[in-house]
């Protein structure tokens, strides 16, 4: 198992390198002159040239890429923003936790509600509980998150005054600032989770081993949650991984509405300003976070399904055996 984890971690190296090269090249092919953006339309030609030299834009793409890779991967230096001069690593260190907390809160709400909703729908297939659950899921998919955000703000902040409508806080008390953004952001994920859970559970509860468990007199609750849900979890966990990845980079609208300075807003602003180092640094960190999230998802597979765990272990043993036999 440990061997598998190490192997996956090592695989992250070419992935991150690949992401870096692709993002670097994409940004350099984007139309728009960073020097002109920094200096504005009133800059003289000489100022523009001097700025391009200062930013290294007068060098070839290959040289710039090599310099950047050297700085990032050999010296662990993401550089500083061309526009604001702030250190990118420390800015990401400030912003990334907010995005991560928002993503985790969103996932907790979405899967905390979505899985029970899906189970109810599956175990009451074609009954009113199923219909209600699926209508809620449909509404969840259809509602735009910016609209839901404003509705929640009006109810919980303006009218009831229970939760803050915007801003960031620190410590445990600061978590309340993530509740409304999380609720607004989770509608789509909750709906997808409910539908996925229903579909997986319907497959599982028709399986022979579920019938066997019932015939052995296992209580229905145990049949559903212990035998059924555990086996239905694999596709749900897969979906959770991709949802988490999407939440890491795609919460720009929610971050804007709730004045929550996270990674989405940071990278989008940088793209608009052609602030290459910020876009590249931000993307590298997101790629690392996403790769780690995917590794955790794979490990969760092993935790819920002994067959997958056995496969990981067997692969390691097989290699050892082959090596021993020469």
């Amino acid at each position: 198992m440990i061997r598998y984890i190490i192997k996956r971690l090592l695989w992250m190296i070419p992935i991150i390198l690949g992401v870096t090269v692709i993002v670097f090249l994409l940004m350099t092919f984007c139309p728009g002159d960073p020097a002109q953006i920094i200096l504005g339309s009133t800059a003289t030609q000489a100022d523009l040239e001097a700025m391009r030299v200062e930013l290294g834009l007068n060098q070839s793409r290959l040289v710039r890429l090599a310099t950047y890779m050297n700085d990032v991967f050999l010296h662990f230096d993401l550089g500083s923003s061309w526009i604001t001069k702030v250190d990118i690593a420390s800015t990401i260190a400030d912003r990334m936790p907010r995005t991560l907390i928002l993503a985790v809160v969103t996932l907790l709400i979405a899967y905390g509600l979505g899985i029970p909703l899906g189970i109810v729908a599956a175990t009451h297939q074609n009954k009113w509980q199923d219909h209600i659950s699926m209508i809620l899921a449909l509404i969840g998919v259809a509602i735009p998150n910016f609209w839901l955000a404003l509705l929640l703000i009006i109810v919980f902040s303006v009218n009831l005054g229970w939760l803050p409508a915007m801003g960031v806080g620190t410590g445990i008390a600061g978590l309340k600032y993530y509740i409304l953004p999380g609720l607004s952001n989770c509608a789509g994920a909750l709906a997808n989770c409910a539908r996925q859970t229903r579909s997986s559970m319907l497959d599982v509860i028709r399986a022979d081993y579920i019938t066997t468990a019932r015939s052995k007199g296992v209580p229905e609750r145990s049949v559903i949650y212990k035998h059924g849900l555990k086996n239905a979890l694999i596709p749900i966990i897969t979906q959770m991984g991709t949802t988490f990845g999407r939440l890491l980079g795609g919460a720009m609208i929610i971050e804007t509405i709730f004045s929550l300075p996270g990674m989405g807003e940071f990278i989008i602003d940088a793209v608009n300003n052609r602030d290459y180092p910020v876009v590249q640094g931000g993307t590298i960190v997101l790629a690392i976070a996403f790769s780690i999230a995917m590794l955790i998802i794979d490990l969760l597979y092993a935790a819920v399904d002994p067959r997958i765990k056995a496969q990981y272990s067997a692969a390691g043993k097989k290699r050892k055996k082959v090596k021993a036999n020469g």
Binding site: D33, K85, D87, I139, W147, V271
Partner: protein, 544 residues
């Protein structure tokens, strides 16, 4: 089948109700569409109340809609207008509400050769919050550094800057262009060279300044907190009123989403909202019991400029350019773009610019006239070619572009709207071969600055800002560059030439909404700075 229909009906009803609930808002907002165009500027509260020197222990919470990513004093021209900047750093001089320069860190200045050379004296007791004493050497360093970085054009006009004493310096300019020295004083922040060089990130996240306030907390793109210094170097009575530190604490909340700004005001999260969008600000206009709405004319306005590049059919076709101006209903733009809270324009420059002549407001400035537009189109020989309108993809620019597209379509002129992101817009807007018309929002201090940025054929590689080369206009323009040439007569000639040739057309000048809660007990709202914003730190109010 039947149950599916029932469910579908229920779903439709639920969605309709929820959409209506979400869109309803307050009743006040819906009435704004019938507001007359060109709502007048509102008089500032307490304009006749005397300036105070009495400091309070008050805290004021301010909402502002533009993200603050860095505190660095070296910033580009586009990032120099934010209201918090005037308490983050001191400038050599600051503009008051009458558009007049008041000495701030500078004590006095004079020119002995009609604007080529200025001798400037700063106060001899300036110190920053770390105790660093500021001398003329720090000012010289800042001006040289700003010149080297090329972030603001005015610094490039400095030929030399020398320290002539501990607290005196001399600045020489390459020409004696009107207003260059004044705007340079406005853009020169007083910073200790030693403190700046000791900073790891050029003050981007934490700065040391000579201002009466210290920035105690800065969360980029979220908030900025200022506390008044106890060891401030200047006597309050010597300070311009708009920068006096009357409040003890000033909290800026960055709220980029317009409706959230309104909600923050309603819930009391903020006391004052500066530069709130008209669509949201309009909701508060009738709620006079709880809020005071102040409207001021914007400092920039929106303009359309016509390409002067040879490949554009507009370059040599004056009649078609004029037809386009007549075909656009400026009052309609005021309604469509800013919910009625704006004014038409009378020049490509906004009235706040120094030199603007009030008599232009009584002239005919392409008053909406479809018949005249069609007559001019016939004269122009326009054959249905599609014109390209370049704009940035910001919400305001895109809306304005669509409105213009519709007005021109109504008189038979086909327009393709090319709304691009800000980076691409910046890269192409000075190249007239890339468009036939370009939307802009241009501001500055003096009329001659802005006109020169747009119409000086020597300013850019291919000509003026739309690749045109009109030497006659250039000569008129150059006559306004000097202090003695900046006369009403010369200014009027340039205005008339640009208007008659229709090289550019001022479209609409949205008003700036500043709203505060009445429970603040505002006694005097003080304005100033580049955009003449309300200065929350300098206002007088009764709430403790």
């Amino acid at each position: 089948m039947r149950s599916k229909k029932i469910w579908a009906a229920i779903l439709t009803a639920v969605m309709s109700v929820s959409v209506l609930a979400g869109c309803g808002g307050s009743g006040e907002s819906s009435s704004q569409t019938s507001e007359p165009a060109a709502v007048e500027e509102t008089e500032m509260i307490g304009a006749d109340v005397e300036a105070t020197t009495e400091l309070t222990d008050n805290t004021i919470n301010v909402g502002y809609g533009t993200a603050i990513d860095s505190l660095t004093p070296f910033r580009s021209a586009t990032a120099r207008n934010a209201p918090y900047l005037d308490i983050l750093y001191e400038r050599l001089a600051v503009r008051d509400s009458n558009n007049e320069y008041q000495p701030y860190a500078a004590k006095s200045w004079e020119t002995t050769d009609n604007g080529y050379t200025y001798d400037l004296e700063i106060w001899d007791n300036i110190s920053d919050s770390q105790g660093n004493a500021i001398t003329a050497a720090d000012i010289v360093w800042f001006i040289q550094e700003a010149k080297n970085r090329g972030l603001i054009t005015n610094f490039s006009k400095v030929e030399s800057v020398e320290q002539t004493g501990d607290y005196t310096l001399q600045i020489k300019f390459s020409d004696n262009r009107v207003g260059v020295f004044e705007t340079l004083m406005e853009d020169t922040f007083v910073v200790s060279q030693a403190a700046f060089e000791a900073s790891a990130d050029e003050f981007a996240t934490s700065c040391v300044s000579t201002s009466p306030y210290v920035c105690t907390e800065f969360v980029p793109s979220a908030s900025l907190t200022f506390e008044r210094r106890d060891d401030y170097w200047q006597d309050i009575a010597n300070m311009p009123e708009c920068v006096r530190p009357i409040q003890k604490t000033v909290n800026y909340q960055i709220i980029t989403e317009a409706s959230q700004m309104g909600i923050a005001l309603e819930t009391g999260t903020i006391d004052v909202a500066i530069d709130i969008a008209a669509s949201t600000g309009a909701q508060f206009v009738d709620q006079t019991d709880a809020y005071t709405v102040n409207l001021q004319d914007g400092a920039q306005g929106w303009q359309v400029f016509f390409s002067g590049a040879e490949n554009s059919i507009l370059a040599e076709n004056e009649a078609l350019r004029q037809a386009i101006c007549y075909a656009i209903d400026a009052d309609g733009l005021v309604q469509g773009l800013c919910s009625g809270y704006g004014t038409p324009m009378w020049d490509v420059c906004a009235p706040r610019l120094i030199g603007f002549l009030d008599k232009w407001k009584d002239e005919d400035y392409y008053t909406y006239d479809v018949e005249k537009a069609q007559q001019l189109i016939e004269e122009s020989g326009y054959n249905g070619e599609t014109l390209t309108l370049l704009s940035s993809s910001s919400a305001t620019a895109s809306t304005l572009g669509q409105l213009i597209q519709n007005y021109l379509d109504a008189v038979g002129i086909k327009v393709e709207l090319n709304a691009v992101d800000m980076a691409l817009y910046t890269a192409t807007r000075l190249d007239g071969t890339q468009y036939d018309m370009v939307l802009g929002t241009v501001g500055g201090t003096y009329l001659s600055d802005v006109w020169s940025l747009r119409f000086d054929p020597a300013a850019y590689e291919a000509g003026d800002a739309t690749s045109r080369n009109d030497q006659e206009l250039a000569d008129l323009l150059y006559s306004t560059w000097t202090n003695e040439g900046y006369t009403d007569e010369n200014i009027d000639e340039v205005h008339t030439y640009i208007k008659d040739s229709a090289y550019g057309y001022g479209l609409v000048n949205p008003q700036v909404f500043t709203i505060w809660r009445n429970d603040l007990g505002m006694v005097k709202a003080v304005t100033g700075g580049i955009n003449n914003y309300v200065m929350p730190s300098a206002c007088q109010f009764t709430r403790e």
